[in-house]
Amino acid sequence: MSRRRESGVRLQRVLALVPWILANPGVTVSELAARFEVEERELEEDLELLPMCGLPPYTADRLIDLVVADDGAVTIRLAEYFERPVRLTPAEGVALLAAGRALLAVPGSDPDGPLATGLEKLERALGATGSLAVHVDAADHLEQLRAAVERGDQVELDYYSSARDEMTTRVVDPFRIFHAFGAWYLAAWCHRAGAERLFRVDRVRAVRETGHRVEFSDTTVSDGSDLVYRPSPDDPRVRLRLAPDAAWVAESIPTEDRVVRRNGTIEVVLAVSGPAFLERLLLSLGPAATVMKPVEVRAEVAAAASRILERYAPTST
């Protein structure tokens, strides 16, 4: 962090810290450190600085009077102008409300609990009552899978793999369930694949307990800092040229190596997680997408089109 940026971070903390101490005289240094998520040593530096601050001409009666007692209890006087924290910025307000509304929308949340009442107070203060909504879809097996994650139950799933367009049955050790990109995902160790896999909960058709318990050590599962889908490095790559009106593909699907040409067409490389994924994408894009590499993919898509057309052939009915 640059020194300049660090001054900002510390100023932000000081302007939140002082009002809290004013409202809660006698709060201890260790309580403050925990509350404001900072090392005690760093906090002590902030507290040492404050008695040097105040109003011109910086005489004793104009400087902040801060006392840390032997037992760590902190009291402040002569800082009435910092009686309240700074107003929330729009970015802070929307982030807090979004997180709160999202959690409240998760099935099983208490619609009248402290989160709901806290959010109402926050919205009122921001003048934004009822103006932010987060939609979280429910999925049939969500509750059951959440319980399995919490208890550490191994389960057998009937799962529709969209990328491969096939129904599968597999035993998995679930370790995390989360909502991202508008859908619920289950992260689990898949015994069939012998690897960690993400499953979309709305594509789970059945869940059966195997009766086994699983235990993960912290090092065997990814740490959750990365809830986002990442294409596997092993997946085959396809290079596409997209007409300008198909530019949404580059926004909606993780793409690599994106180049915008002067005529407005876009070339992207994308990871193909399964043949059905690519067939669906190219069949729905039609003339708006051209496969640049590998050219064999063109014949695969043509074959998929023929497979569907058989349904419409006069002889098939």
């Binding site: 601050c53 109003l55 729009p90 982030a95 979004a98 402290p114 103006s131 939609h135 059905a276």
Partner: protein, 309 residues
């Protein structure tokens, strides 16, 4: 570095305490630790301080001063600065802490906001959800809260919106409201707004009573557009029937056949969205009616079938 922090604290205190705007010269005379003597360096140092403070949401007001014309003074109006007391209980703060730790957004704004509300309470929670972020989201939210119009470019067209709310759905943020040019309700993807939106003056419109922003986002892309809806029927193979019935609901089923396949009915306005939906089922679905939608799909697929390079 401590010197700069000390000056920033003192500058904030002085600007909050003053009853009239202070010029940079006046501030430099009073403040400790002092600004550089040299004029240009002093101005640069002050501008840096001001920028740091504004980033934190400190509202510094710049006002003209009745001395040698053209001079400006600075102050902070307490009413703009102080966060009103939300009277949050410890339980409510703990619940907000759980929300902020369970629901992830890019950046640290939620954590910074939580500190202003009194810091963290309780033990938080493991990650449960991730929300998208878009650069224009804070501007859109501010405009909603303060009833400011928004002017922006969207898909190359200029728009003027009275924003009623922001909604996260399908993994994206939408800003919804009344499109003043087209005089109708509209929803816009916030991440597709080009550049920074321009906000009008506060308090220039009033949303209709009982506005529910979520209702502005239509559930079903097949119904997007202004054409007259037609009813289409689609045969879905047994292997995919349960998935489709789950998606559309039992009401959409018009026929269950002995082989386990189902015929579902859909209201179609947007023909492209319908085609994409049917093709999503690959060879497991067939458009039965109306004849023109069936013929459209056959023609569309036939264009590929010739492509046997």
């Amino acid at each position: 570095m401590s010197d700069r922090l000390e000056r920033l604290v003192n500058l904030t205190a002085t600007l909050l305490d003053t009853r009239r705007p202070l010029t940079l010269d006046e501030l430099a005379e009073r403040l400790e630790p002092s600004y550089p003597e040299e004029k240009a360096a002093r101005r640069r140092a002050f501008e840096r301080d001001k920028e740091t403070m504004r980033e934190l949401g400190i509202p510094i007001s710049v006002e003209s001063v009745e001395v040698f014309g053209g001079e400006v003074g600075y102050c902070i109006h307490p009413g703009d600065y102080y966060l009103p007391d939300l009277a949050l209980t410890a339980d409510e703060r703990a619940a907000l802490h759980v929300a902020v730790s369970a629901v992830r957004l890019e950046g640290n704004d939620a954590q910074a906001g939580l500190r202003k509300l009194g810091g963290i309470e309780g033990s938080g929670a493991p990650p449960l959800a991730q929300l998208a972020v878009a650069p224009a989201l804070a501007d859109c939210f501010d405009a909603v809260a303060r009833r400011r119009t928004l002017e922006f470019t969207y898909r190359g067209e200029s728009r003027l919106l009275e924003p009623y709310g922001v909604v996260h759905r399908f993994g994206h943020w939408y800003v919804v409201g009344r499109d003043a040019h087209r005089d109708g309700p509209r929803a816009f993807r916030v991440d597709r707004i080009e550049g920074a939106p321009i906000a009008g003056d506060p308090g220039t419109f009033e949303p209709p009573a009982d506005t529910d922003p979520a209702e502005y986002i239509r559930d079903d892309p097949l119904t997007y557009g202004d054409a007259k809806p037609v009813s289409a029927s689609v045969l879905v193979a047994a292997s995919r029937a349960p998935l489709v019935v789950d998606e559309l609901g039992e009401d959409a089923v018009v026929e269950r056949r002995d082989d386990g396949s189902v015929v579902v009915a859909l209201q179609v306005v947007n023909r492209e969205a319908f085609r994409t939906w049917v093709l999503g089922l690959l060879e497991h679905a067939e458009v039965l009616a109306p004849a023109d939608l069936r013929a459209d799909l056959v023609a569309w697929l036939s264009a590929f079938a010739g492509d046997t390079a």
